[in-house]
Symmetry: C2
Subunit: 251 residues, 2 copies
Amino acid sequence: MSQQRNGQAAGAPDGAGFPDLPEATVARLPEYLRALHHLAETGFDTVSSEGLAAAAGVNSAKLRKDLSHLGSYGTRGVGYDVALLIAQIEHVLGLTQRRTVALVGVGNLGHALAGYGGFGTRGFRIAALFDADPGRVGEQINGLPVHDIRRLPEVVAAEAISIAVIATPAEAAQQVADQLVAAGVTSILNFAPCVLSVPDGVDVRKVDLAVELQILSFHEHRKSALTTLPSHPANGRVKIRPALNGEALAT
Amino acid sequence: MSQQRNGQAAGAPDGAGFPDLPEATVARLPEYLRALHHLAETGFDTVSSEGLAAAAGVNSAKLRKDLSHLGSYGTRGVGYDVALLIAQIEHVLGLTQRRTVALVGVGNLGHALAGYGGFGTRGFRIAALFDADPGRVGEQINGLPVHDIRRLPEVVAAEAISIAVIATPAEAAQQVADQLVAAGVTSILNFAPCVLSVPDGVDVRKVDLAVELQILSFHEHRKSALTTLPSHPANGRVKIRPALNGEALAT
DNA sequence: AGGCGTTTGTGAACGTACGCACAAACTCAC
DNA sequence: GTGAGTTTGTGCGTACGTTCACAAACGCCT
């Protein structure tokens, strides 16, 4: 029944008194983690909420509230211990154990993802590649062989894979998702531009590059409407007619 | 001063009586648009809010409220005219004119993005590729030549580019962003895992693949903690101690 | 030991977003 | 023309997220 739910409640469904993190906070923790790793490499032992907030690109009050949700260890008058905070966040995110990931669809994008080295340093290991195209099966990418999609259940079980990435064309995505769920995968990152329907208990997050560009396009449209239309008065019933005021952009 | 702001207010800064779209609505419009195109191809002339909501993976009430914000033309008792609604949304998103996009960084990911055909059908045209590596300059990808990054101002002006995609390593991203802004780009889609600092009036959206996986990891962690700990009541003051795991995955 | 400056953690106010539920508006059949 | 059925548009209650502002807690200097 459950359609795709990007912003699923992070909470335990039962009534346990578990410190539930707001979903918005969960989405920011990885940013903090990245900033913290950078600080650690730069030689910082401690950091103030102000400093970390700047490094992560957020408001310092928001950062403090976020960290307070995980009962964080800051020291008043000093700040946060960088190493300790890294350990805390990694623990909360479940990154203390390295997670194994399957990637389905070794086309243009899948190829790039398989070759991206950034995952290894952020707690993940791409453990298996799959494709339905017999022409691609057997190919090696970055030292990993491409399996036939039919071997999904076998490999998922053997490698203890719980997260999968779908990088197939949109037409194939739902079928792939079904196969993944049947094989025991419970978290899916979907790059295909389509809505996936999955059972309850399975999380889906979506990344659609065209959607991101279209959102930017909206703001671009808005900006240019503001700057280029010095006037364009009452025209009957046209919806949305940004109109007016030549506002000079900064720079 | 402005750090990166994904969720920027969509509103006109002045007091004009403009139908300001909530940012959350703007983020969903591209989803509706995709669903509508799919419906149009499938032969639908009209669609109810219920039907479109299902296709886009959202609640029907939310969809109706979103569409009402742009003064949309639905007909009570019938539904929405698919073609009309497509035109409306494309107009609001500024997609009536095809937007030209520059892509900086032709590495692993940039290569895949340059080769991705999906942009063309969604209102965008990748008009130019750039890289700082002299070894890559001159190379042809998908019929497009890779320019030296130093030709940025020239090409951006010639092609009337207002949106750019950064697919460089994190270390280079800020410098590239500065160059883009200097060249006149006012919207940036950033794939590099770092915070970009840009002047006011420039929009930045970020896509970080590792962040998406880490969010999934959190839920995964949560799920396994729930399934393996049938009970684990009041444990004093331990912050989040999901602990353990030898997860029995579903199915 | 005590006071001062700094920084965290959080209560409270505010704003935004969501979803229900219903009246208004429309089509269609007769 | 009238009534029945369908679907939109939206007012309202509620939940969530953000920001401000301040008291409590800490280090450090004297």
